[in-house]
């Protein structure tokens, strides 16, 4: 990746992180950890030009789609959509409030740019399978990105979806697994050991690419590679740090689902602004 581009995407990831912190502080609740772990990936998806999307025409038929299967991380999505111009940034302050277009979990009928409603873990990857099937039927040429949590992989439905994506040779489906090693009650290895994760996806017939999910070069090369793989779906296993960018949240399962206080906010924003 060229230096300028990397700088730009890094800056955007910082902005997204600051947005997340401010949004959650304002709402007083929400999920910072799993949002922050995705900031670099969302910066890349929305601002590298890799996706065929148009914020002025969010419903165009052949657009690439994102399904946030781990729906609780929607603050990262809302931040990216606002920064991209899908809606005015002032809406971010309304997160989780009554009447807001930004619901506690993604709602496709309320938020421009949100392609699928999610929140009950395990379902989004199946929805993405349906989208990928539909895209193939109409030869739309669009790609479906499904963002899956590592704790979410405890759900049997993830593996039902994985099996069907392989069966139908969905090479227009890319799963990005946010492998931050934490779920709510602790480390995934302690709560429900899902290892060997890589081999599980491989054995379900998927092409697997393992990356550091905070390294923009690796994010780019994995997605570029994934887009060229034919006849099977691809899972990008992104090793990440939950809470990435905010020192006191990093790797702490206590920051899965609570908002920072006013003092914590100052510190958090300072952290986010620092060079990664």
């Amino acid at each position: 990746m060229e230096e300028d581009k990397r700088k730009e995407l890094e800056e955007m990831a910082k902005k997204i992180r600051v947005d997340i912190v401010e949004m959650l502080c304002e709402s007083g609740s929400g999920h910072p950890g799993g949002s922050l772990s995705l900031a670099d990936i969302f910066s890349y998806l929305y601002f590298s030009g890799i996706m065929n999307i148009d914020p002025k025409n969010p419903n165009k038929k052949d657009r690439d789609r994102i399904v946030l299967s781990k729906g609780h991380a929607c603050p990262v999505w809302y931040a990216a959509l606002a920064e991209k111009g899908y809606f005015d940034k002032s809406h971010l302050k309304t997160l989780r409030k009554y009447g807001s277009m930004l619901q506690g979990h993604p709602d496709m009928n309320k938020t421009p740019g949100v392609d699928m409603t999610t929140g009950s873990l395990g379902q989004g990857l199946s929805c993405a399978v349906g989208m990928a099937l539909g895209a193939k039927l109409d030869k739309l040429g669009c790609r479906i990105f499904a963002i899956v949590g590592d704790g979410e992989c405890d759900e049997g439905q993830i593996w039902e979806a994985a099996m069907s994506a392989f069966h139908y040779k969905l090479d227009n489906l890319i799963a990005i697994l946010d492998r931050n090693s934490l779920q709510i009650d602790g480390y995934t290895k302690d709560i429900m050991n899902s290892e060997p994760m890589i081999n599980k996806w491989k054995s379900f017939g998927w092409e697997v690419i393992e990356i550091n999910g905070h390294n923009l070069d690796e994010i780019e090369s994995s997605i570029e590679k994934a887009l060229n793989i034919k006849n099977k779906p691809v899972c990008i296993v992104a090793n990440t740090i939950k809470g990435k960018g905010v020192s006191f949240m990093e790797g702490e399962c206590g920051w899965h689902g609570k908002a920072p206080s006013e003092e914590e906010k100052e510190k958090a924003i300072r952290d986010c602004m620092c060079k990664a």
Binding site: M116, Q123, Q157, E160
Partner: protein, 322 residues
């Protein structure tokens, strides 16, 4: 008494058809006219009859194997791409195994998914309780925005399928395994939200939906022979329900008996009580499965054992009219 306008739309053929078969046939026909229709199934296509569609349109048929949750969410995904997915499996699995998927992937975003579930009720017979859907209408009815339809015969099923293919939004259709008499002829017309009064009388109102309607008709005819004339309403549209038709009839007769191959909790009987309790408080006796699980047996044995055969309906009417 059967009103003259109803006589014109009743079938005079002596024919039996399973509603699941009528569904499969109509879906395969509609597939020709509407290229956006796709069919999904979970390893039961020969039973749900989506196999008829699959044979004609293999590219638009998706078997998900024995994974109902995945099928329902994938149907939601397909609908966001402009497809009209008809997703079929047994009603027990569509309503209970995939309950959260129907709720969150389909009903909450109000997506255009048609869940056509077969093998509803104890009338499926020998497979027993595990395969007898007796709370599916209750579950589906409770989902915000879900249309719930329970056609009583092959003709009505075909009209229902035509209509829901045009309607935009989530629908649940409750279909049956065993063949039952064809009640209506082709000139019968179906509308979402409307029931139909098949017989007229002042002594009581019998309201039925789905498999039980032919049984309720037998009972009403028998009652007529005994000098008791009843209103017989076929309430195919369980949700939205035809409140006007129910209230008018209850006002006239003062006694309502509901009949369904479903639990008396939350299905047609529950829906009728909801309508009447606030609009026209009326005594309602609910026939159907009484807070029990199903069991093995022949369909006709079970219909009697669970108390919604013609004899039970007749007895209930006679015991409750003043």
């Amino acid at each position: 008494m059967i009103p003259e306008n109803i006589k014109k739309i009743l079938s005079n053929e002596d024919k039996k058809v399973a509603t699941r078969k009528a569904y499969g046939e109509r879906l395969a026909e509609l597939g020709e006219k509407n290229k956006n229709i796709v069919a999904l199934d979970c390893d039961l296509s020969k039973s749900t009859m989506t196999a008829l569609f699959a044979r004609k349109f293999p590219d638009r048929f998706f078997n998900f194997g024995i994974a109902e949750s995945n099928m329902i969410s994938a149907a939601a995904g397909l609908s966001t791409m402009g497809k009209i997915p008809f997703a079929s499996t047994f009603a027990v699995f569509a309503s209970k195994r995939a309950c959260d998927q129907v709720s969150i992937s389909v009903a909450y975003p109000h997506l255009n998914v048609k869940i056509c579930a077969t093998h509803s009720g104890v009338s499926i017979g020998e497979d027993g309780a595990t395969h007898q859907a007796i709370i599916d209408a209750a579950i589906m009815r409770a989902m915000p925005g879900m249309v719930v339809l329970s056609p009583c015969d092959g003709t009505e099923t075909k009209k229902v399928i035509d209509r829901i293919a045009e309607y935009k939004g989530p629908c649940y259709v409750r279909l049956c395994r065993v063949a039952s008499p064809v009640i209506f002829n082709e000139s019968y017309n179906f509308e979402i939200g409307k029931g139909i009064k098949i017989m007229e009388g002042g002594s009581a109102t019998i309201i039925s939906a789905g498999f039980t309607t032919h049984i309720a008709m037998q009972a009403a005819r028998k009652l007529e022979e005994d000098g008791i004339e009843v209103d017989l309403i076929n309430m195919v549209s369980i949700k939205p329900i035809d409140s006007k038709l129910i209230i008018e009839s209850a006002k006239k007769t003062g006694l309502v008996i509901t009949v369904e191959d479903h639990s008396v909790i939350g299905g047609l009987g529950g829906a009728v009580c909801e309508v009447l309790s606030c609009n026209m408080p009326t005594k309602v006796v609910r026939l159907g499965v009484q807070d029990k699980f199903g069991s093995s047996g022949s369909p006709s044995e079970l219909v009697s054992a669970y108390g919604f055969d013609a004899a039970s309906i007749i007895k209930t009417v006679k015991e409750n009219i003043c």
